[in-house]
Amino acid sequence: MKEIHGDFSKKSKKRKLESFGRTISFVCIALIVLVVLSILYFVISKGVSTFFVDHVSLKDFLFGTLWRPGEVGEDGNPLVGALPMIVGSFGVTIFSAIFATPFAIAAAIYMVEISPKTGKKILQPVVELLVGIPSVVYGFIGLMVVVPTIRSIFGGTGFGILSATLVLFVMILPTVTSMAVDALQAVPRHYREASLAMGATRWQTIYKVVLRAATPGLLTAVVFGMARAFGEALAVQMVIGNAAMMPTSLITPASTLTSILTMSMGNTVMGTLENNVLWSLATILLIMALLFNILTRWIGKKGAMNK
């Protein structure tokens, strides 16, 4: 009896281990949160100095079309209109999502509904391989293959939104596909069984039941792909031409927020307007990443309520 009493008055070995593990995981989470918060603070505090220190108006920055940091316009305000880059970024993002979505959903349907065996054996490894290719390789292929092809078909220089879209299409395809596969697999089996039992064909089941039920998941997949396209820098920079002017067509050189950032960051002096506007561009990217995140959560919630 005495021994048992002694055991209860102290923490057991397992309890100690548990609280130790809990402390470690808490410290790790706290560290991650701290890193995220300090990045947010650093980028945003630098980004707003364009407006508070250099007194550029937010309207001129977001809707101005002349990007010549370091020069001032006729009215004496610095020429730091970021609209060409904003349009370029949204352009490549939306177009590549439009291209990639049908392919990704078709591949996912094949892998989940039509031929799960071949899907697992062949398609899955191929898709995973695509994820693993570094973006500089995509950019290099884009520069050596896509750009000359576009040039010989459409004329011009070959650099532009179309080339960037084609490169990004291949880059986001695996992301969207694998997430779409997850979404389709999450549709309960009895949905399909009920549909087939009522006499629906396989195609009717896929189209009217499975895809409908998986819509929120599929939308999340597309938004994730868009987030990746929006943030991609290196590959886009190599094929878009990096001309900070409003794109007039899909095959004229354009630029994105990321391409201008990677090009200019080494050439500006910390604390000058030229440097601060780059931080402002980074802030836009950060806010967009946040919005994409919120959007996927919102879609997830909406989908959950419909069930």
Partner: protein, 287 residues
């Protein structure tokens, strides 16, 4: 078994202690040079050679661009700031407290895709191309082919030099931009009708260097200023250099480095220059 392991560990620890103690006999010292990516290969090579000759002295070389080099040396965060441009030409830098060490000269030439039919232009024609007044090679007696202008990123040292000597006060049209000279050469080589500019060392058979007013882009023409598009490679220090920094800068300027390494890497030794040019572009002959 356990005892053996402990003995082994103790022996290993003892060995390590001896090893570190040995390392400390030589006085280790290091400095950091940051900045211009165009100068990075040169400073790196010289740094390695210097470390090999002077045991225990290390030169850390990092890129990041001329802007980074100038702002880091201005803030006193590094020992040497590498830059392709004069500190006075860069905004936000207190150039008065920086000391300029010019270690080499680099010539810059316009390059075009082979097959435009144009091999020589005047300085005015070159300016008109980059300001958008001439848009077809036919206007210069070449083929009927639209001209595509390709610039380096704004703030790049090569671009700053080119614009200072070719464009003067005029502004380049908004055009395609690329971050590195290697990519520029790649694109010029493959895109018909493209014009851009690179340092002499980047010119290969894939692209065609233009002569200006029948002056060929060669090192000899740079040395007597017949070819005006060139810039100094600066190594800035915050105040007068001391100790290892001074020693290394002297080493960079020594005949040994100037006549072998610098020439091997396609830069022009500072001692070969027959004229000297200040930040405003005024030239004086070297006596």
């Amino acid at each position: 078994m356990k005892l053996k392991k402990i003995k082994l560990l103790l022996t290993l620890a003892g060995l390590m202690l001896v090893a570190t103690a040995c390392g400390e006999v030589v006085d280790e010292e290091s400095i950091t040079a940051v900045g211009s990516s165009a100068m990075q290969p040169l400073v790196e090579a010289a740094g390695e050679q210097y470390s090999a000759e002077n045991l225990g002295k290390f030169i850390n070389v990092q890129g990041g661009g001329s802007g980074t080099g100038l702002s880091q040396i201005d803030a006193g965060a590094v020992d040497i700031g590498n830059s392709d441009i004069f500190a006075e030409e860069s905004g936000g830098i207190d150039a008065d407290k920086l000391v300029d060490h010019r270690i080499a000269v680099v010539g810059i030439t316009p390059i075009v895709t082979p097959g435009t039919g144009v091999t020589d232009v005047t300085l005015e024609e070159l300016r008109d191309i980059f300001t958008g007044k001439i848009t077809n090679w036919a206007e210069l007696g070449g083929k009927d082919l639209p001209i595509t202008v390709l610039n380096r990123a704004s703030g790049s040292g090569t671009r700053a030099t080119f614009e200072q000597w070719v464009l003067g006060d005029e502004k380049s049209i908004v055009s395609q931009e690329q971050e590195s000279s290697g990519t520029v050469r790649q694109i010029v080589a493959n895109t018909p009708g493209t014009i851009s500019y690179v340092a002499f060392s980047y010119v290969t058979d894939e692209v065609e260097a233009l002569s200006i007013n029948v002056v060929e882009p060669t090192n000899e023409n740079v040395q007597n200023n017949d070819w005006i598009i060139w810039s100094y490679e600066h190594m800035y220090t915050n105040g007068e250099p001391e100790g290892l920094t001074k020693d290394f800068l002297d080493y960079m300027l020594s005949e040994d480095v100037q006549q072998t390494l610098i020439q091997a890497l396609d830069y022009i030794p500072i001692s070969n220059m027959k004229i000297e040019r200040d930040v405003e572009g005024n030239t004086t002959p070297v006596q």
